[in-house]
Symmetry: C2
Subunit: 245 residues, 2 copies
Amino acid sequence: VSASSELDNLRVVLVNTRNPLNIGAVARAMSNFGCFHLRVVNPYEEAWREARSAVGGAPLLADAEEFSSIADAVADCSLVIGTTAARDRELNHHVRTPREAEPLIRERLHSERIALLFGSEKRGLSNEDLSHCHWLLRIPTRAEHGSMNLGQAVAVCLYEFVREIRTTPDVSVETQQPPASASELERITAVLLEALTESGYSDGASVAATEEKVRRLVRRLSISHEDADLVVGMLRKVLWKLRHP
Amino acid sequence: VSASSELDNLRVVLVNTRNPLNIGAVARAMSNFGCFHLRVVNPYEEAWREARSAVGGAPLLADAEEFSSIADAVADCSLVIGTTAARDRELNHHVRTPREAEPLIRERLHSERIALLFGSEKRGLSNEDLSHCHWLLRIPTRAEHGSMNLGQAVAVCLYEFVREIRTTPDVSVETQQPPASASELERITAVLLEALTESGYSDGASVAATEEKVRRLVRRLSISHEDADLVVGMLRKVLWKLRHP
């Protein structure tokens, strides 16, 4: 299941946003994570105009829907979630962290339209705004500095919603190097030990003690299969030079 | 264990950052998540000056350390992680998602200093920059639009590092309302059923069928203990009015 189809039923709703740069930053985060449906409620007119006309403005800004009330903006959603930075004010809602919310949201996104509300930069969502919400989401920021930048808050929420499904990107599989085999490590150990012996490194210590030390070291290095030949080649070159000064 | 002490050994390293707003946004995200040690490598002088003098500039900008090379900036770190948006270029490193990286990073943060590198807005980290890194972190964005806003990328990474330890904020415990008891739900069921009967709602259907329907409905509503009295009070009022028109 692709993440974009997973987030197809999600509506990001910005309420009373003031700063055009923030609207643009939200659109970018949404595009990054494959969430394409933006709704705005009473944006400051100038901010909204500027954001939509910005160079590189995402297509999703052009497709964004504008509403004059939260009720209208969430009318077709069966789950409405408000975001809040508040820890201390009296809250009449369940408050969940994104991590706690994610399984609930992801399951319901299969069949239901869900609205995720973000308030204005200065005041967040008002109590009246929150009365439209079934429950609240709170990103676990510090008590001393809880209020996040709007675009960052959107990015963190959307990241949480895709992190489970997108946890193993193809690139990881491609670049994951298989580790060196035991015999490869032993070849490295042998040639390194020879080089060290040749260098007089083990003088004073017993041969067995040095060998063990080198063997342990080589195992701690997590050398890949591909790098094993490289390492052996380098050490052989060193050893040759030690023997032919 | 508090999150801020968890992130005490983390160094966020910005390489060749151009935009003062981005530096400010990074500082804000770091403060939100309790990560206080910022390092900058060759920031554009003007951007760096502007960012530090911005109104409300976080104290952590004042304490930030400036370096002229990555080597110097990470010299005291035993694990250096680069961030990348690239999926397709030839990568010589392990690439992990934040989710995959988090347990590794968190464990080592107990005893080791770790550097997390972010490249310039335009080009990210160069291959030379990446050669200083033990492995890479890639936020699972869409292939078609992988490159994130700098502040948002920092926010997502730091969020991942604290989400496990801060998953149950105190506010959640405080506001979690205990649910209504079965007897309370049954009282609600009874008075609602009376009101419906009084209203002629169940005409045609059997009493038993309507009662079951109402009982099921009331259980689906997840009514809290505190709200149960309120609901009963409302319904009683309605019922009284139905009986005394």
